[in-house]
Every structure is written in C-alpha cells, then in structure tokens.
C-alpha cells in the first residue's frame, strides 16, 4: 500500500499547454471543495486542481435530491451551485495558490456573456489555466447546449480567446454525435487544450413510487461505468487532432486506468467520482501512476516534454 502522506519526489511530471504539472493527475471539476479536502491530504501535491464551476454571480443549483446510485456509477444534478466568481477570487483561488497548487479554474455560464464575464475577471488573477465547461448536462440554458453545437462553440471560444492570455482548456460533452467536429471547433476557436469527458445524461427511477429519484429528473452519469466511453472519445479525438493537449476524464480510480488514458492519447487525466468515495483517491492514483511510469520510460519521456503520442 502506498503511503500518500509521506513526502514524495515526483518522478514523472508533465507540461500541459505550457503549464507544468507535478504529475499527470488532476482533480476533476465539481468533485473538489478545498474546505473539505484540505483536511485529508496536501492538495498542492496534485498535478492540478480543477475547481468547481465558477459563474459570474452566485448560483444556487438544483433542488434536492441531487443524486442517485447506479451500477459502477453515480448520477448527479448539482446544477453548478457555487458562490460566484467574486467569492472565488478572494477565497479558494488565493488559498490554493498559497498552498502551491497548480489551479485550473472551471468556468460556468448560462450564456456567452456569462462565460465572458468570468474569463475577464480571471484574466488578471493567479489561476494557472481555465477550463471552459460547455458540457454540463444539468443547467437549462448554456452549459451542454453550447458544447454540442460546433458553430456556437467556435464563436464562444473565439470570443473568450480575445479576453485572456491564460491557457484555455475546453471541456467537451460526450452527449454528441460527432465529438471530432466539436473538438475541432474548440481548437479552431483558440482552445489550448481539451478535457473530456463531462458526464453523460442519465437518470434512475424509484421502483416504489415510479418517479425519478433526482429532483431535476435527469442528471449526469459519472464513475467507473464511463471509463470505456471516455477512452473511446479521447482516442478518436487524438486520431483526428495529433497535437492538441488532451486531459482524459471518466472513471479513473487507479493508476492503471490513468495509464489507459495516456495510451489512448491523453496528456494527463482528472479524477472525479473516485474522490467522492475516498477523499485521498486522487493523490493515491497520482502516486500509483508515478510508479507505473517507471517501467514505461518511452511514455514517461514524452510526458516529461509535454508531448502527445499516438
């Protein structure tokens, strides 16, 4: 068993869109709240921390219940509850930077203007990267709809590009017919990297009442069940776009599964649901991967240079 608390000299760091990561494993947006997680491990040890989606004003999210269980998965409909960008800029962001974390600010919006406001406010602050979430299935406007329409997405990203010099990751939705055209639109618009996948739309029913378990009715499916689907998306985009940095997300709960994403063509991964089931899972996975890469020098060398591979 790995002791994640013992000081560790990371052996296999990487560079994503020019930003150095201590290791190729980040936390996934919406599954990391600093105030809760900092009591469990030194979060600055992660490759990067992707924050909860940040909106221009505080959002209260969806009514409860917000989640349901499913085989090897959970279904959630938080609806991007967050205290807004102003709060974020004086609270989580400075705290994370003070701890030495590499920070990815996940940006949420109901409209192009929402995204623009948040990106503008962040431009002059210490966030290392931005992750534009155009793929949340749990908000009624914006969110996923932008992420499923290449034309709208191109327009949005091209506009945001004019507002910031920060490395900009676009987080893609799996709820699409043709991921490659969406990915290309994001890259053409000026994305520096892609992260994928966000959750798949899904739901469960209470077999006593016959009603949906989640108040919002549908939610987003995450967890190990997503793994093969997410790998398929990453691989297909990597075939089409050999050079864009890709962060693989979906069902990573071990170093071996993180490794699968690297083989699929990802430059790094983010860990979501696994952290819900054990607070220290992201760091454990980072450590497992660090050891697995010892025996794969070729892959480790490419990673160290922040290159992609096929």
């Amino acid at each position: 068993m790995i002791n994640v608390y013992e000081p560790h000299e990371w052996k296999h760091g990487t560079v994503v869109a020019g930003v150095p990561w201590k290791n190729p494993v980040g936390t996934a947006s919406g599954t990391f709240q600093l105030a809760a997680v900092r009591d469990y491990y030194d979060v600055s040890q992660m490759g990067a921390i992707s924050t909860k989606g940040v909106s221009p004003i505080p959002w209260e999210g969806n009514p409860s219940p917000r989640c349901a269980e499913s085989p090897a998965a959970n279904v959630n409909a938080v609806g991007l509850q967050n205290p807004g960008v102003d709060h974020y800029l004086v609270d989580d962001l400075p705290k994370l930077k003070a701890m030495g974390a590499t920070v990815i600010t996940n940006v949420a919006g109901h409209s192009d203007d929402d995204y623009a406001q948040v990106v503008t406010k962040l431009a002059s602050h210490a966030s290392d990267m931005l992750e534009i979430n155009v793929s949340c299935p749990n908000v009624s406007h914006g969110g996923m709809s932008v992420g499923t329409d290449p034309v709208a997405l191109y327009k949005l990203i091209a506009h945001l590009r004019t507002l910031t010099d920060k490395p900009m990751i676009v987080k893609l939705s799996p709820n699409v017919t043709d991921i490659v055209s969406v990915a290309k639109a994001a890259v053409d618009g000026g994305a520096d990297a892609l992260s994928m996948i966000n959750t798949l739309v899904g739901m469960r029913f209470d077999t006593r009442t016959g009603k949906p378990i989640i108040a919002n009715r549908t939610g987003g499916v995450s967890g190990p069940a997503l793994l093969p689907i997410a790998l398929g998306f990453v691989w297909r985009v990597r075939q089409a776009l050999p050079d864009i940095p890709i962060i693989g997300i979906g069902g990573v709960d071990s170093g071996l599964k993180a490794l699968e994403f690297l083989y699929a063509g990802a430059n790094a991964v983010e860990v979501g649901s696994a952290a819900l089931f054990d607070p220290i899972a992201p760091l454990r996975i980072a450590r497992e991967l660090d050891d697995l890469l010892d025996t794969r020098p070729q892959l480790a060398n490419l990673l160290a240079e922040g290159k992609t591979w096929k």
């Binding site: 919406g30 900092r38 085989p71």
Partner: protein, 315 residues
C-alpha cells in the same frame, strides 16, 4: 519536469495533536494522523451484527479512531464490498464502547441488506466521523426527541452528555446537564434500553399510542417555566425546575422534526435538528446533499447534518 514539495500541514490545527492512536489503527490511518490529516476511508473489522427488531440491525465495528472522535450526532459512511454500489451509506453513530463503534440501521435497500448479512470478523470500509455535531457544551436540560431510525445518534448524544456529567460531577455540581429522551417508534421500542443507560429519563411511545408531540405535551410541558433572558436579549427562554435552560435536540422523520421544531418555538426552547439527505460523498466535496436554509443552500453532510431551528426557518 520533477517537482518536490514537502507535505504541508492542514489548516485545522485541532487535528495535529492526535497521534496517540498510532498503534491501534490501520496503517493508512496512522500515516494520516502522523502527517496531521483526518483519517481517509479505511478498512476495519466487524465486531458484531445483531438484529434489534424486524429489519432493524445493530452493526458494530472495531475502530479506535472513530471511537475516540465521534461527537454528538455525527455520522459515518459505510461502503459496500460490491463496486456496483459505490456510494456511501451514512449512519449516525449510536454508541461507543471502548474501541467498538455501533450504528443502528433499518434494512431498506441493497446496501443495508448486504451489511445485515455480515458477521464478526468480516471487513468493511468506513469514513468518519463526519458532520457538524449537536452543540452540547452549554449546561442545560437536553430533551432528545428521536423518531424511528433517528434515535441512534441521540443515544450517542446521551452517552456524551453522561460522560460530561461524570467529568463535571466532582467539581461543579451547579453546571450539570440533565437529559430527557423522548422516543417515538413505529411499533417495537427497540432502542429504549440503550437510551436508558445514559439518559436521566427515557420516555417512549409508538404509533399505536400516539406520537412524540403527545409525550412532549404530556410529560415536559408542565415542567417548563418561561423566563426572560436578559443576557441574550432574545426575549423568552424555557427553563426546568432546577432553572436549567431547555435545549431540544431532534432527529427523525422530516414531518416529525417540523412538528417538534414548531413545538419548541411555541415553548421558547432552543432547538437543533439533524437532517437526512441523499449524499454523494458525505464529507463536503460534491455539494450534492443540500438543504435550503436561511443562510442559503447548505450541505447536510458538513454544514450539518445538525441545524438550528432558526437556520432552517422552521417556526
């Protein structure tokens, strides 16, 4: 690129002292404590599993860490062995005896079904203790109002009140708290004997006889004196015959707790209520478990599960 940063310490400095358990807990917990962090999810042994009544199980694990830390009304997450069921199953800590921590649950679904078939010596994963506890520091007459599977965390609360009692007894008799338990059941009074071990008085009722409000009305109301609380300037305050302020702590079905909060408001009692909500993580990282309060949408798992009547706006 190679980076190295020494493991930094968490902000919560109260965690740092506790390195006394190092010998008794699983290595991962030892490492966490040594580094000054909370225990992560860890594997423990089952001590016993015992049916209390039809479909209600007392489930006990050996866990010195949780035993030492579980405060009033806190809960723990249990996890299934079957990865088809990844989500946490939260249960209020019901009792601590030495290193043995017990919870009491109803078999309602797949997870509780699985746990109910476990036996002494089996292993199970656990995280906790979790959640904001009942505030029981103030000397008071605590009225513990529990309904059904809301009773267990109140047993632990009574146990802690009894411990405070024992610690205070020699030095400061004036500030001793008093505990009255008011318990409502569907039928079998499965938790009375446990509660009696700790509470000064245990009153209980089942659906065939009435409900907890009947008990409060019949057995508590007459002992209340309402005084003017100058100190706080908050107007009226209910005290008992010894002059101890009444504080009502409740856990149980939503409807019962609303009625209890209402009754407490009418009788000028402070009132703290412990809520349930479906949870994604149980420790505050996913924002799945919210409840609407006067302070906005808060997380049941670590802004609660205990909220005051005022926070909930239950008047």
């Amino acid at each position: 690129m190679t980076a190295s940063t020494p493991v930094s310490q968490p902000m919560d400095t109260t965690l740092q002292a506790d390195t006394t358990l190092l010998g008794d807990v699983p290595p991962i917990v030892q490492y966490a404590l040594q580094a000054g962090f909370k225990a992560p999810r860890h594997e423990v042994r089952v001590h016993h599993v015992q049916p209390l009544t039809d479909g209600v199980i007392e489930f006990a694990i050996i866990d010195p860490y949780i035993a030492r830390h579980a405060q009033a009304g806190q809960f723990i997450n249990l996890y299934s062995h079957d990865d088809m069921r990844l989500m946490p199953r939260p249960f209020g800590v019901a009792q601590v005896q030495g290193d043995v921590v017990s919870v009491i649950f109803a078999v309602v679904g797949e997870g509780t079904e699985e746990f109910s078939h476990m036996r002494q010596g089996d292993t199970i994963d656990v995280l906790g203790p979790l959640g904001k506890p009942y505030a029981i520091d103030m000397p008071a007459h605590y009225v513990l109002v529990g309904g059904g599977l809301g009773v267990p965390p109140l047993i632990r609360t009574a146990q802690l009140l009894r411990q405070q009692h024992a610690e205070h007894t020699s030095t400061d008799t004036a500030s001793r708290s008093v505990t009255t338990a008011v318990l409502g059941y569907r039928n079998v009074h499965f938790a009375d004997s446990m509660m009696q071990a700790y509470a000064d008085q245990t009153l209980s009722i089942d659906d065939s006889q009435g409900n907890v409000i009947d008990v409060l009305q019949h057995d508590i109301a007459q002992h209340i004196t309402v005084v003017t609380s100058d100190e706080r300037g908050s107007g009226h305050m209910a005290v008992d015959e010894q002059g101890l302020p009444y504080v009502l702590l409740s856990c149980g079905p939503h409807g019962m707790m609303k009625a209890v909060a209402h009754w407490a408001a009418e009788h000028h009692m402070q009132c703290q209520l412990s809520l349930e909500q479906r949870m994604g993580c149980g420790y505050g990282t996913c924002v799945v478990c919210t409840v609407d309060t006067a302070r906005g949408r808060l997380k049941v798992c670590n802004d609660g599960p205990v909220f005051t009547r005022e926070e909930l706006g239950w008047n």
